[in-house]
């Protein structure tokens, strides 16, 4: 009987019918007589059996049958008033049964029922079977194969036929070949066959082997296991990672590849639970631990571990361990202690992202994996499941549920290689992390060369000066001072560029209005901070009529800062502006409207300190402005712009420190360009970069030497020294590079001091280096910061998870193989052999086909836990190939087993959501077969297979969701609903419409209906179907013509394809 039926049928029937289905369908003859007894038993089962049943037998009392009640002396037939049972359920005090913490008191009607039954003599059928103790539960016995003759057919058929023959059930014939081939393709690779493949004449086994060997097979079955193993991409609140892990797709790829390699399921379990202990230096295998990393939960460790415990147990051994979190399991022999022993297995483990070759940014890529972090973490039982109330008096040792512990291997700690606990020792990591450091050395070298070249150029300029002349002012030379009254041309001071310049009347005149290519260039280099005063007069000109004073002018003149007066009317002004990359910027904060008149003398004073510019006109401060940046080494120029001008008097000097400037109001814009560094700074930069490189290389050498104590000691000493020297070099560079920023200088000096102190005080022997952080441990709680975790992890792992995995895959473990075989069967036949796929505990009744399940489980274990062998066994069986229709079936068979529990025909199934979508794309030739890689954002434009979509609470493809996509929290079995939203998605969705168009284009020729019908539904249409299709095709064409749509014939074909995609048989696996 199925679990659902027991809910509707009186319990008494269920018990007797366990092995005799056919009678079970009819009323039990004694039903009338025992009507009350049936209800009594239901009541006692609900309220009392958890303590007074086969499992617990509290007070040595069992209440499952009348005989047991008599034995326990709790009923006196005929005398309810004298029965202890009645006394206790009626008690309103402390002795009430069930006790308040176990359940609500019985209602008056329920007590009346008990009284009536006892007073009526406590009648019950004779010879009632008594349930065995928990140890005898069928699923706790090691599965055995059934001995079959050597020349026997497929054991599935032999074992099924034994039951069918006993019951007189007649199996249906095999399904038609094309239907079968479609069934096989959809089951094994999740994609429908082409017409050619539908008509493949090769032997069935050849097609089976070909599909099992196809890489598509791994993708198809990976999605099944992703359901069972709760695959979920990370999710959280906005960008905060709260659940699962980034890049968890690597685990998905491991599943696909493992299936395609036909890796034994025992090995898969070992790797998923303990790859870090089994293959600590093999990143490909480590991907498997995504199974555990997926349970990561930021906020609450108990919640995290609860999920780990519950789903590890449900997925692999089919036990509802989670029911024992707060108290002993109500139905199964799993104690409260068992739960916390199981927790202790996982207590030390944590999750981290390891670096992957070629990427050092964990946002972009990384390998999520688990590892044992807190080796000494203790586990305590939580009283009533309350984490705030641990029982500190007892330490819970790691262990598996007691009832199945006899074959548990011992827990043995695993010594890890440096590769695992010190990820910076890995070659590829060192290579990747050295790349930017080496690049910096190269950049610094280049910068130094540039700086030297600039300096040489400046020296050459200097060399042009006559001997004995005042040497060129350095940028910070405080006594720099130059004056000129322009009485005559002084070529040492001014380089005259362009035409039109005339020295006369004690002034220099520009006599033609040009656009400032004509200029006077001051030869001495102006100090960085300077003060310039100039008396001049606008004498005429065209539009703008400006006089410009430029400074910091680069040789190519693409860089300059400047101030100008413009006599342009209206709108004459004084303005500070700048040129960057040849483009001028006229900031509004640097502008002051000023009456500038032709023929009137003005005195402009300009003071510049770092980026701050002050401008006075006729001794009145007009502008205080901060430039975005200053580039040293540029020249100073005087010129007109659309103007004629006369410069009268000019002086410039280094700006004395005591001169106070007015602060600017403009917010300092960020530096527009990287300043050209001086030779000194560039040298310091290169030294720092080289020291950093040497330091990092030494640190990596030390990391690599871990595991060899002698070498490690030497290498770490060297690393420590070089690291300290690199710190010092960095400080020295920073103190020079940021010389104008007091705060940064101070920090840099502190760095130097720290490094020097380290080197001097403690001696290089005792200083230690900092292991680089090249992996990212997931936060244990939101209060933590990544930086507070050590960069080096424990050198051993507890071995607890490996011992668990080996226990699960022990040939003595009765559960693991049964559970997984049941999952595989479910996905080939649409119904499992054991209805409760995640619960093989005491409530799981022996399956109708127990011999078959046991045989398959034993065979699976004996043959390397090979899924491929199991699939092959199943799909080459006759049972798998039966027709799914009950039309023309034997009437008695149909009546005796309408639910097909004895597999006399094939079950019809609906395609999984992923198969629906992938089939649409594949039939249209639009499917992109690129395998693996990061998960994709869901959407209609994606052409990859559906298993590559992101799948989490926050992201799930809408189309897939409509077709009962897996619940990311738990999906041991897909639900399979038929809802109108599916009809809407398939008839109105973008993907089906687009694909219909493409599919329609694939069949050419006179007969469209026949081939298309076969392609989409796996069989040829019958006459009625053909007629309907032909008629509607014509109607479609007429409608398109009527609506004046282009190419009505082709459009009609699309219409027909679209309709066939909506046919029930398209989404069905017949």
């Amino acid at each position: 009987m199925s679990a659902s039926r027991s809910f509707l049928v009186p319990a008494v029937v269920v018990i007797t019918a366990a092995c005799s289905l056919v009678q079970g369908e009819k009323e039990a003859p004694s039903a009338e007589l025992h009507e009350d007894y049936g209800k009594v038993k239901e009541l006692l089962a609900a309220k009392c059996h958890s303590c007074h049943g086969a499992l617990k037998q509290k007070a040595k009392l069992r209440l499952e049958t009348r005989d047991l009640m008599l034995k326990g002396e709790v009923i006196v037939p005929g005398q309810a008033a004298k029965s202890l049972l009645i006394e206790r359920v009626e008690d309103m005090g402390e002795d009430r049964m069930p006790p308040p913490e176990e359940g609500a008191a019985l209602k008056s009607g329920e007590i009346a029922l008990l009284r009536r039954w006892i007073d009526g003599g406590a009648k019950a059928p004779a010879g009632e079977p008594v349930r065995q103790g928990p140890g005898e539960h069928w699923a706790f016995q090691v599965p055995r194969r059934t001995d079959l003759p050597d020349d026997a057919d497929n054991p599935i058929d032999v074992l099924l036929e034994i039951r069918r023959a006993t019951l007189g059930l007649k199996a249906q014939p095999l399904a038609q070949r094309t239907i079968l081939i479609r069934r096989l393709y959809l089951d094994l690779i999740g994609l429908p066959p082409t017409r050619e493949q539908l008509n493949d004449g090769r032997p069935w086994e050849s097609i089976v082997d070909e599909l099992l060997a196809s890489p598509r097979h791994g993708e198809r079955w990976a999605r099944h296991w992703m359901d069972v193993w709760r695959y979920s991409d990370w999710y959280g609140l906005d960008k905060q990672l709260r659940n699962s892990q980034k890049h968890i797709w690597r685990w998905r790829d491991w599943i696909v590849e493992s299936l395609n390699d036909d890796k034994g399921f025992d090995h898969m379990i070992h790797e998923m639970l303990a790859a870090d202990e089994l293959a600590p230096d093999d990143p490909d295998t480590l991907r498997a631990t995504g199974f555990l990393a997926r349970n990561y939960y930021l906020f609450n460790r108990t919640t995290w571990l609860d999920a780990t415990i519950e789903h590890t147990a449900k997925a692999f051994i089919g036990l509802t361990l989670n029911c024992a979190k707060c108290h002993d399991h109500k139905y199964d022999p799993i104690t409260h202690e068992d739960y916390y022993r199981f927790r202790a297995i996982f207590e030390p483990h944590q999750v981290r992202l390891d670096p992957v070759p070629g990427e050092t940014d964990f946002e972009k890529d990384g390998l999520p994996r688990v590892f044992d972090d807190h080796l000494g973490a203790s586990t305590h039982l939580h009283i009533r499941g309350d984490p705030k109330n641990p029982d500190k008096s007892r330490l819970m040792e790691p262990g598996v549920p007691g009832i199945l512990a006899s074959f548990a291997p011992p827990v043995e700690p695993v010594k890890l290689p440096a590769y695992a606990y010190a990820p910076a020792s890995r070659d590829y990591v060192q290579k990747d992390y050295l790349v930017p450091v080496r690049t910096e050395v190269e950049t610094a070298k280049k910068k130094l060369a540039e700086a030297r070249k600039n300096a040489t150029a400046a020296l050459r300029e200097e060399a042009k000066l006559k001997p004995g002349e005042k040497t060129k002012s350095g940028p910070t030379q405080p006594d720099f001072s130059v004056q000129d009254d322009f009485g005559k041309h002084n070529p040492e001071l001014w380089e005259v560029v362009g035409k039109g310049w005339v020295f006369k009347d004690g002034a220099v005149h520009q006599t033609t209005a040009t656009r400032d290519t004509e200029r006077l260039l001051l030869r001495p280099e102006v100090p960085r901070n300077f003060e310039m005063t100039c008396r001049y007069m606008h004498t005429g000109g065209a539009t703008y009529r400006s006089v410009t004073f430029r400074f910091d002018v680069s040789p190519d003149r693409n860089y300059a800062n400047y101030v100008y007066t413009s006599a342009h009317a209206p709108g004459s002004k004084l303005h500070v502006a700048y040129t960057r990359g040849g483009k001028s910027t006229y900031p509004s904060e640097g502008l002051v409207a000023q009456p500038i008149e032709i023929g009137k003398p003005y005195t402009l004073r300009l003071a510049v300190r770092d980026r701050l510019v002050n401008v006075w006109l006729n001794d009145k401060i007009q502008i205080a402005y901060t430039l975005p940046d200053r580039k040293p080494g540029g020249g100073l120029e005087l010129s007109g712009f659309d103007a004629t001008v006369a410069f009268d008097d000019f002086s410039i000097r280094a700006l004395p420190g005591e001169v106070e400037l007015t602060k600017s109001k403009n917010k300092e814009p960020p530096p527009a360009l990287e300043p050209v560094e001086s030779v000194e700074v560039s040298e310091a930069r290169l030294a720092a970069a080289e020291a950093r490189l040497a330091s990092l290389e030494a640190v990596f050498a030390a990391e690599q030497a871990r595991g060899d104590p002698g070498a490690y000691k030497q290498a770490s000493k060297r690393a420590a020294r070089l690291e300290t020297e690199a710190l010092k070099a960095a400080g020295e560079y920073e103190s020079k590079a940021f010389a104008t920023d007091a705060g940064k200088v101070k920090a840099a000096r502190a760095k130097i001091a720290k490094a020097e102190k380290k080197l001097a005080d403690t001696g290089v022997d005792r200083i230690t280096y900092t292991p680089p952080r090249v992996s990212r441990k997931a936060l244990e709680t939101p209060a933590h910061k990544e930086g507070q975790y050590p960069a080096i992890y424990p050198e051993t792992s507890t071995g607890r998870r490996l011992a668990l995995a080996r226990w699960m895959t022990s040939s003595s473990n009765p559960l693991t193989a049964r559970v997984v075989v049941n999952h595989v069967w479910l996905r080939h036949f649409g119904e499992p052999l054991v209805e409760t796929v995640d619960d093989f505990g005491l409530r799981a009744k022996p399956p109708t086909q127990q011999l078959l399940l046991d045989h398959l489980a034993a065979d699976f274990m004996e043959n390397g836990w090979s899924f491929r062998r199991l699939h092959r066994l199943i799909v080459t069986s006759g049972a798998y190939r039966l027709s799914s229709t009950s039309a023309d079936a034997d009437a008695e068979t149909r009546a005796a087993d309408p639910d097909n529990r004895f597999y006399w025909r094939m079950n019809v199934r609906r395609m999984d959501a992923q198969v629906v979508r992938d089939s649409l794309l594949h039939l249209a030739g639009a499917l992109d077969f690129t395998p693996g890689g990061p998960s994709l954002d869901p959407g209609d434009a994606v052409r990859r297979r559906s298993l590559y979509f992101k799948h989490s609470r926050d992201q799930q493809d809408k189309f897939l969701k409509t077709f009962n996509d897996a619940d990311h929290l738990q999906c041991y079995r897909r639900s399979e609903s038929i809802a109108p939203q599916q009809a809407l998605a398939l008839s109105n969705g973008k993907v089906p419409i687009e694909m219909a168009e493409k599919i329609a284009g694939q069949v050419e020729g006179e007969d469209f209906v026949g081939p298309m019908f076969e392609l989409l539904l796996g069989r040829k249409p019958d006459a009625d179907e053909r007629r309907e299709c032909e008629t509607t095709l014509a109607d479609f064409e007429a409608a398109a013509t009527e609506a004046k749509k282009p190419n009505p014939a082709q459009r009609a074909r699309r219409g027909l394809v679209h309709a066939l995609l909506n046919h029930n048989d398209f989404v069905s696996i017949r």
Partner: protein
């Protein structure tokens, strides 16, 4: 065996979609599973949920004592006992090291005044004057409590289970599951507005019991409501027609295939749904007066008002459960850890007039008697201040209200102490609201179980008899 029974048995706890569909198609008013055991008083539910946590003291349970005690620490007042650890025990701290759910000791004065409304004279804050105007039709429950100290309590108010527990069906899904359809052209469980913590309702009942998400957009209110490609109405009609005829031909080929039969019917319903739904969210035929009643004339009230008017139109057409969430953002807009005054004032303004409009409109059309309106939020806010001007989450006591559907109006039920910290009488866990609602719909909560999914006693709740008329 008839088709429904076969489907039910054959799937045993899974794939109830087929069942739902059959129920819808039968139009079984009393529910597919014979769950309607008492005579129903109400037919439909409009479920309004304020996301983030509405301050109970500044909405439906005003506490003037806070003004007198403002600035004092709770420990130095006569209410020191409220923080007795034993009394704080039932709240589960979900998030370790989280700033939420801590004791906020310094009492914070009311940020808004209040006054008595209606013949019943029930005190309501000045932020809800329009709802106050309808108070004689409302039963206010002032003694709600929950266990979840963070916004996962939104899940809890809908399902009765803590966010950390396994997810279970929400009340809307149960109603949908337990009752048959009243309209074969419309989905029976419609949702609008923002939702974050849990995006499905059916859970183990299956996605067929999830809300059908709707937008107020007459052109495209429903996912896949119209072809996302160039397909004319005539082509669509021809396509649906052919699918229907071909599927019927298949019935001979697969005589026992209940799914095939269900699929045929699902296509018929889908075809009707896509034409019916857009019409319901089209307000062209509503009068200006009605639109004004729902606040269409103001930018602040229009969005919520449109959802409520749509809700009324769905109720008129027999939709069973309309679930409307208010307040965007991940946590929910009502979550005023700071700036409570301006925040609550703004949000209350968005909902106050439309909700009052809904109640008046339902009443004037004679629909209020058979429509149950629920106003709820995940928890209240602390009487003590958080920071300068906010209040923290307060799961120990808060308010909800229900109106119509055969409930009493102008009554309050339950009470809290003078600072709104703990219920002092008739405390109600969130599922008591569910039980009350189910009772009015004629459903017995205890009949709401499916094999393999045991429900806890607290999941069922108890009807609040005192507010049932």
């Amino acid at each position: 065996m008839d088709i429904n029974r076969r489907l039910f048995l054959g799937r045993s706890g899974l794939g109830f979609g087929s069942l739902a569909l059959s129920a819808m198609l039968q139009g079984a008013e009393r529910g597919v599973n014979g769950l309607a055991q008492v005579a129903p008083k109400a037919k439909s539910v409009i479920w309004l949920f304020m996301r983030g946590g509405v301050s109970h003291m500044e909405s439906f349970d005003p506490k003037p004592a806070l003004n007198e005690l403002a600035g004092k620490s709770i420990g130095e007042t006569r209410f020191h006992y409220v923080q007795d650890p034993e009394r704080l025990r039932k709240v589960r701290v979900v998030v370790v090291n989280d700033a939420n759910g801590q004791q906020r000791n310094k009492l914070y004065p009311l940020q808004v005044g209040s006054r008595k409304y209606g013949a019943s004279g029930i005190e309501v804050s000045d932020w809800f004057p329009h709802i106050g105007g309808c108070i004689d039709d409302i039963a206010v429950i002032r003694s709600m409590w929950t266990t979840d100290d963070n916004h996962g309590a939104q899940v809890q108010f809908h399902s009765g289970r803590h966010m950390l527990d396994p997810r279970v069906p929400t009340i809307g899904a149960w109603v949908n599951w337990g009752l048959g359809t009243l309209n074969e052209n419309l989905p029976q469980f419609i949702g609008m507005g923002p939702r974050f913590f849990d995006r499905s309702d059916g859970h183990y009942l299956g996605p067929a019991y999830d809300e059908v998400k709707l937008k107020i957009a007459p052109g495209n209110p429903l996912d896949y409501a119209k072809p996302q490609g160039d397909i004319t109405a005539e082509e669509q009609r021809l396509g649906f027609g052919l699918v229907n005829r071909l599927n019927r031909l298949s019935l001979d080929r697969y005589p026992d295939d209940a799914e095939l039969d269900a699929r045929i019917k699902s296509y018929e319903l889908a075809y009707r749904m896509q034409t019916s739904v857009p019409g319901v969210v089209n307000f062209d035929k509503e009068t200006e007066a009605t639109k004004k009643l729902y606040g269409f004339n103001q930018n602040e009230t229009r969005p919520f008002g449109q959802q409520l008017l749509a809700a009324r139109r769905f109720v008129e057409r027999g939709v069973r459960f309309i679930q409307i969430m208010h307040g965007g953002g991940a946590a929910g807009a009502w979550d005023q850890h700071s700036n409570l005054k301006s925040g609550h004032a703004k949000l209350a303004m968005q909902v106050d007039r439309p909700i009052a409009g809904l109640l008046k409109d339902l009443k004037s059309r004679g629909l209020l008697d058979e429509t149950l309106v629920v106003f709820a939020t995940e928890f209240g806010r602390t009487p003590g201040s958080q920071g300068a001007n906010g209040r923290d989450h307060h799961p120990y006591a808060f308010s909800a209200w229900m109106a119509g559907g055969g409930l009493k109006g102008g009554v309050t039920h339950g009470a809290t102490d003078d600072i709104g910290f703990h219920p002092t009488e008739d405390p109600h866990y969130v599922t008591d609201v569910h039980a009350t609602l189910l009772r009015q719909l004629g459903l017995d909560p205890h009949a709401m179980e499916v094999p393999g999914h045991k429900r806890l006693e607290k999941d069922f709740g108890h009807p609040i008899q005192e507010i049932i008329s």
